[in-house]
Amino acid sequence: MLEVQLFNTCLAEQFFPAAIEATVKVLEALKLKVRPMRRAFCCGQAPFNEGLRAEALGLARNFLGAALPGMPIVVPSGSCAAMIRNFYRDLLADEPASLKQAAALQPWVFELGQFIVNVMKVKYLGARFDHTVAYHPSCHLARELRAADDTRVLLANVNGLKLVDFRNPEECCGFGGMFAVKFPALSTAMAQDKLERIRESAAELLVANDCGCLMQLGGLSHRNHLGLEVRHVAEVLAAR
C-alpha cells in the first residue's frame, strides 16, 4: 500500500480539525496509508512573512527533521505547501545542509488537490454534496503553486454540487497572515469586496484550501450575518 505523510498545518490543527479528518478520509478512500507528521506543527510561514527569519528557521528545521525522505507529503493548504516548495530556498539559503535536505524534499510536497489530480491522477472522488458552492482559489495556490484548477476540477466533479462563478475570483481575500491584524480596516475592506462579489453569485457556501482565507471570510460573514458559511475543500471532497 502506498504511504503518504500528512502535514496538518498549524491553522488547521488549531481551528479546523474537521479539515484534517476530512483530508485523512479522502486520502484513505484513495487506498493510501496516511502517516501524520506528529513532530511538525508549523512550516514557519507566518514569521518568515514578517521578516523574522531566525524564528522561521527554527520551524523550518523542525519541519525538515519531521519529514521522511522519498515519501509524498500532502498539505491541506496552498500557502503552507508553497512555503515549503518555493520559499524554503530563500529562507535556508545560508544553511547548506538544511538547504540540501529541503531541495530533496521539495518535489515530494503537494497541496491536497494538486496531489490527487497530478500524482494519483484522479479527478472524480465519488463525493456527494448537494449545495451551491463558490470556490475561492487562494493566492498561493493559484500563483505560487499554479494548482488552483486542480481543486476546481475536483469540486466540479462532486455529485450534486453546483459550482458558481463570481467576479474577479483570484483577488486576494485580505488575510495575508499578520496583515489581517496589522491593517485591520484594509484587510476587512478586501474581504468585504470579495464577499459582496460572492453573494451576487447566490452561493450558499464558500470553499477554499487555506484556513487563513476561511478564517478571514468566515469571520466577516459571521460578524455581518451574511449567512455565507465556509468549508475547507477537504470537507466537501469527503462528503458522502
Binding site: C10, F15, E55, L59, D90, V181, A185, L186, A189, R223
Partner: protein
C-alpha cells in the same frame, strides 16, 4: 520614524473613503480589461516579455559599462551630461541651469523621476514656474496635489471632480465632458508652451549604442516640451539604459500593452541631441541628468537589484488589492503600489520603511509585470532587512505592531514543540468554550483584538 506608523494610520483611514474606492475600482478595472484584450490579440506577448526580461538582466548586469558608453555617445551627439549622486544634486543642477539661462517658465513632460527629486517645489522656490503639461499631471497640479498613480496621475478623481476644478480655476462653465475639459486645458497649455524657455522630461529608455533617449507618451506634450523650448533637460534614472537600438522594439511591444492596453503609445519620441546647424527646429541645448539616488545600493543587493528592471508601466498598481482600496496618496511617496513599496525604502529611507509590510504577498503584481519582477520575494527581503536583516537593528515599529511581532516570535518558539502546542491548543479550546457562539468568538484579547474590531474570530478547536 514617524513616517512608518503614519502610513498605517493614513492607509487605514483611506479605506473608509468608499467614494475613492469606487473610483479606483472602476478606473483600475477598465485598465485591466484593456490590458487583457490587447494581450489576447497579441500571441507573441509572452515571448516578447521573456526577451525584454533578458535584455533588462543584461542591461543591469553591464550597467557600469553601458552607462559609460551612453555618456560618450550622448556627448558625441552634443548633449551635456551630468551624473547626480542624489536628489539634491539633480535638483541643484536643474535649478542652477534654469537660473543661468534666465528661465521663467518650465514646461514639463510627465516624469515620475522629477517627482522623486521634488523638482517642482525647488523651481518654485527659485522663482521659476513649473507647468505640468500632461493632462493628468496638469489636473493634480491645479489641485496642488501629487500624482496618485505613476501613469494615471488623476486616477483618484472623477470627471465631475475635474469639471468642478476647471470651472473654479480656468474660468470655464462647469462640464463633466472629457472632450471639453481636454480642449480647455489644451488651450491654456498652448500659450504656456509657446513662451516656455525650458522643457523638462523623463526618459523611458536610453540606448547606449546610439545615445538615443526614448520617451513614450500619448498627448504630444512630451514632444512639445522636448522640441519647442530652447533648453531641454532630460532627467533619467541610471537603470534606464539598454544596450542596442534593436532592443527597443521588444520593450515597445509590451510597455503600452501592459500600461494602458494600447498597442503602442500615440507618440514615441527619439531625442538625439540639440538642433544641428542644418536643422530648423529643436532645442539649442540638451542636458541629460542621470540619477543615482540609491540605485547603486539596489544594484549591490542581489535580491533588490531585480527592482531596477522596472519599466514604470503602473500595471502592478492596477492589480494590487491594497492599492485598489487606498489609492496612491496614502503611500506618501511618488512611487506607489507594489513597485513603490520595494523601491521607496531605498530611495526615501525611513518614511517609506513600513511600506513593504503593507501587502498580503498575493502575487498579482508578479503575474502582470511585463518583465516578471518577483515583487513578493523582494517585499519579503525588504521585510527581513527592516527587521534587522544581517545586522540586527530594525526600524521602530508602531507599538501595536511590535506587540504583534513579539506575540508571533513567542508562537514561533513554542511551535517548535508540537506536543506541547497540542496540549496548549486543547486548553485554549476549553477556555474559549464559554465565549463562543456557533464556532466564533466576538472579542479577542491581545494582538487579535484588532481582528475582532470588524470580524469574528474562529473559535479554537482541538482534535478528538
Amino acid at each position: 520614524m514617524a513616517g512608518s506608523s503614519e502610513f498605517l494610520t493614513v492607509a487605514e483611514r483611506a479605506v473608509a473613503d468608499l467614494e475613492l474606492r469606487r473610483k479606483l475600482e472602476n478606473a483600475t478595472g477598465r485598465h485591466l480589461n484593456h490590458v487583457a484584450e490587447t494581450r489576447a490579440e497579441f500571441p507573441r506577448f509572452d515571448e516578447e516579455r521573456e526577451t525584454a526580461r533578458r535584455i533588462k538582466e543584461e542591461s543591469i548586469g553591464r550597467l557600469d559599462e553601458l552607462l559609460t558608453a551612453l555618456i560618450d555617445r550622448l556627448k558625441a551627439n552634443g548633449c551635456k551630461v551630468t551624473v547626480a549622486a542624489d536628489a539634491a544634486e539633480a535638483r541643484e543642477y536643474i535649478v542652477g541651469l534654469a537660473r543661468r539661462r534666465g528661465v521663467r517658465t518650465v514646461v514639463k513632460g510627465k516624469s515620475m523621476t522629477t517627482e522623486e527629486i521634488e523638482l517642482n517645489p525647488a523651481l518654485t522656490a527659485a522663482g521659476i514656474q513649473p507647468v505640468e503639461t500632461d493632462l493628468g499631471e496638469y489636473i493634480v497640479q491645479l489641485r496642488r496635489e501629487s500624482p496618485s498613480h505613476i501613469i494615471t496621475p488623476a486616477i483618484h478623481l472623477s470627471r465631475e471632480d475635474i469639471g468642478r476644478l476647471f470651472a473654479e480655476n480656468l474660468g470655464i462653465a462647469y462640464t463633466p465632458e472629457p472632450e471639453r475639459l481636454t480642449a480647455a486645458a489644451r488651450e491654456r497649455l498652448r500659450s504656456i508652451f509657446l513662451n516656455a524657455e525650458m522643457g523638462v522630461t523623463g526618459a523611458n529608455f536610453a540606448i547606449a549604442e546610439t545615445g538615443t533617449l526614448v520617451l513614450v507618451e500619448n498627448e504630444g506634450n512630451g514632444r512639445y516640451s522636448s522640441t519647442w523650448p530652447q533648453t531641454l533637460v532630460v532627467l533619467m534614472g541610471m537603470e534606464k539604459v539598454i544596450p542596442r537600438l534593436a532592443d527597443l522594439s521588444h520593450f515597445l511591444e509590451i510597455l503600452a500593452r501592459t500600461a494602458t492596453g494600447q498597442k503602442l503609445t500615440c507618440y514615441t519620441n527619439f531625442i538625439h541631441g540639440p538642433r544641428g546647424a542644418d536643422e530648423i527646429d529643436g532645442p539649442e541645448q540638451v542636458h541629460v541628468v542621470i540619477l543615482d539616488n540609491g540605485r547603486t545600493r539596489m544594484l549591490a543587493d542581489p535580491v533588490l537589484r531585480e527592482a531596477l528592471y522596472c519599466l514604470r508601466c503602473g500595471a502592478c498598481l492596477n492589480v494590487c488589492p491594497v492599492y485598489r482600496r487606498i489609492g496612491g496618496h496614502a503611500y506618501g511617496v511618488p512611487y506607489q503600489g507594489p513597485i513603490g513599496s520595494i523601491v521607496s525604502p531605498v530611495l526615501f529611507g525611513t518614511r517609506a520603511a513600513y511600506l513593504p509590510f503593507a501587502s498580503t504577498l498575493c502575487g498579482a503584481c508578479r503575474e502582470i509585470c511585463p518583465v516578471k519582477i518577483d515583487i513578493p520575494r523582494i517585499l519579503l527581503h525588504q521585510r527581513w532587512l527592516e527587521s534587522g536583516g544581517n545586522h540586527g537593528a530594525s526600524i521602530r515599529f508602531p507599538r501595536s505592531i511590535s506587540r504583534t511581532r513579539r506575540a508571533l516570535t513567542r508562537f514561533a518558539r513554542m511551535a517548535r514543540h508540537p506536543r506541547r502546542m497540542r496540549l496548549l491548543n486543547r486548553a485554549m479550546a476549553l477556555l474559549a468554550w464559554p465565549l463562543e457562539r456557533d464556532g466564533y468568538i466576538r472579542r479577542m484579547p491581545g494582538a487579535f483584538r484588532h481582528w475582532t474590531r470588524t470580524r469574528d474570530f474562529r473559535a479554537p478547536r482541538s482534535r478528538r
